[in-house]
């Protein structure tokens, strides 16, 4: 792999950019791999990356039914933070946030990580108590966050209206090391690194069956034929239920639509990420100047990648009261993704009832921030059967009553 650098840009400028290589290969599948990962979203690619990097397992294929990052990884509002309440969450999300800090260097791919800071607004007394509690928990976990008052919020976000009669700003949970990153670049950067290690990233290859013998996985059936494997990782977000069904087990997961939208580009006006969980509105400004807005999830099962319009309306209606200056903005695009929701709003990284099959899912509305940390732990789980980062997130936590309840303050986590 030819490295990207300032020198490479200069060199290519002098020869009409004729020397750039393809970032990753597009091979046909081999007959057999040590590990097959289903799903080339961020989590699947990061899992493969760390299988190679940490454990030297490189005979790996990543099978994707559509295109790289075409699932939720390319559809989210890119908020990265680690101010969760429970200890297992703090461990994996903080590991992840810290890996984002060096991801561009580690992958030699600019993922545009921007640690601009994230504020979660407290707009009800319930949230004030909830976020103060989270700030204390974070102090014990070694995650740097701070509970701030409304004046400090106004200082950080001059365009905010803190006196809204319906949704006053009573305070906020501030994580100055949170931020955003370019979501496509995260998928592309990992794919390039995986391809460089000799792994096969295979797009337009849908898994349609999971073959088992005596309770153990032996391979998958795909739109590109039969492929054998020793171990299998299912990392397909909204489609987890479908794949679990093919493997013959059930999941405590329901798939629903979550939506986002962006405005026309305007001059820089907000240099932090603001989350208003009470009204299900999340906003940041992209480098192009668009206001990127995330909304609430639908309440019913859906696989159509189209959400209900009234959720957009509710989000925007509430946000223009908190940010009056956006009321005249035109919205350019709106889209949906299918998110995999668990009862305790925490993910599942686990062995399954089928030997050799592992699953990584349940990230729901908030897994973009977790991509590197999840891949780091998931690779260890697949290689060794256990990982300190993932063990608490096993499938049997529901039966054993070990919930990792992250639905505390607002029941959402973007």
């Amino acid at each position: 792999m030819r490295r990207y650098s300032a020198f490479a840009v200069a060199r290519e400028a002098l020869r009409y950019h004729s020397g750039w290589e393809r970032a990753w290969a597009s091979p046909e599948p081999k007959k057999k791999y040590d590990v097959i990962i289903i799903g080339a979203g961020g989590h699947g690619l990061a899992t493969a990356f760390y299988l190679g990097k940490r454990f030297g397992i490189k005979n790996v294929a990543i099978l994707e039914k559509g295109w790289l990052g075409g699932g939720n990884t390319g559809r989210n509002t890119t908020i990265i933070r680690s101010n969760y309440l429970q200890d297992p969450s703090a461990a994996i999300y903080e590991k992840s946030r810290s890996l984002y800090e060096t991801m561009s260097q580690d992958l030699n791919y600019n993922v545009m990580f921007s640690p601009r800071g994230v504020i979660m607004l407290a707009q009800t007394h319930h949230e004030v108590r909830g976020y103060q509690r989270t700030a204390h928990a974070n102090a014990l976990q070694g995650v740097k966050t701070e509970y701030i008052g409304p004046e400090r919020v106004k200082e950080l976000v001059p365009i905010i209206n803190i006196n809204g009669p319906r949704y006053p700003v009573l305070g906020g949970l501030w994580q100055d090391r949170g931020g955003t990153a370019r979501h496509d670049a995260v998928a592309w950067g990992y794919a390039r690194a995986c391809s460089d290690m000799g792994m096969d990233v295979i797009q337009k290859c849908e898994v349609t069956g999971i073959r088992r013998e005596s309770g153990r996985v032996v391979g998958v059936s795909t739109s590109k034929g039969e492929i054998d494997c020793d171990k299998l990782g299912i990392v397909v977000a909204g489609h987890s239920g479908v794949l679990a069904d093919l493997a013959g087990f059930r999941l405590p997961i329901e798939s629903v639509a979550l939506q986002a939208l962006v405005s026309e580009p305007i001059k820089p006006c907000m240099d932090v990420v603001v989350m208003a969980n009470t009204v299900h509105g999340y906003m940041s400004q992209s480098d192009k100047g668009e206001m990127v807005i995330g909304g609430g999830a639908d309440g019913y099962n859906n696989y159509t990648q189209r959400g209900s319009f009234h959720h957009i309306e509710e989000t925007v209606r509430a946000l223009i009261e908190t940010f009056p200056m956006i009321s005249r903005l035109k919205m350019l695009r709106q889209w949906g993704g299918i998110v995999d929701m668990t009862g305790d709003r925490s993910p599942i990284l686990s062995k399954t009832p089928v030997d050799g099959v592992f699953i990584n899912c349940g990230w729901g509305t908030g897994g973009f921030k977790a991509i590197p940390g999840s891949g780091y732990g998931m690779a260890e789980l697949i290689a060794k059967g256990s990982s300190p980062l993932t063990d608490a997130f096993s499938l049997n936590r529901f039966k054993e009553g070990r919930f990792i309840d992250e639905s505390v303050a607002a029941g959402v986590a973007h």
Binding site: V242, P252, S255, G299, Y300, N302, S308, H310, F398
Partner: protein, 109 residues
């Protein structure tokens, strides 16, 4: 926007008038049940890409709970029926079979 007909008052309601209530026809397990039965009842959910049966409530109307048969991959609605049953009516099952031969949901076909 999703629209469902309330089987009680006959109103065709927009989804903003309704509240979703999750998977239909769950068997409640409680005291005396095995750990597995109780766990499955509390946490495991059908999550099909295709035919699904759900509970809805006509929240801003007559207030009653009812059932809907719907496809999660197209948002097509096959029909709605009252809540006082543990199984979808045959005519709805027939309608689904006509449109989607080979469909399954739990042990229904």
């Amino acid at each position: 926007m999703l629209m469902l007909e309330c089987p009680y008052c006959g109103v065709t309601a927009d989804e903003t008038e309704l509240s979703p209530g999750g998977e239909a026809h769950l068997t409640r397990f409680g005291p005396g049940a095995s750990d597995d039965e109780f766990h499955d009842y509390l946490f495991m959910r059908e999550n099909p890409k295709g035919v699904h049966f759900e509970r809805w409530r006509h929240a801003y109307g007559c207030g009653k709970w009812f059932h809907a048969a719907r496809a999660t991959d197209t948002l097509e609605v096959f029909g709605t029926y009252p809540a006082q049953t543990t199984k979808p009516p045959q005519e709805i099952l027939d309608k689904i079979s006509a449109k989607r031969p080979g469909w399954t949901w739990r042990d229904l076909k």
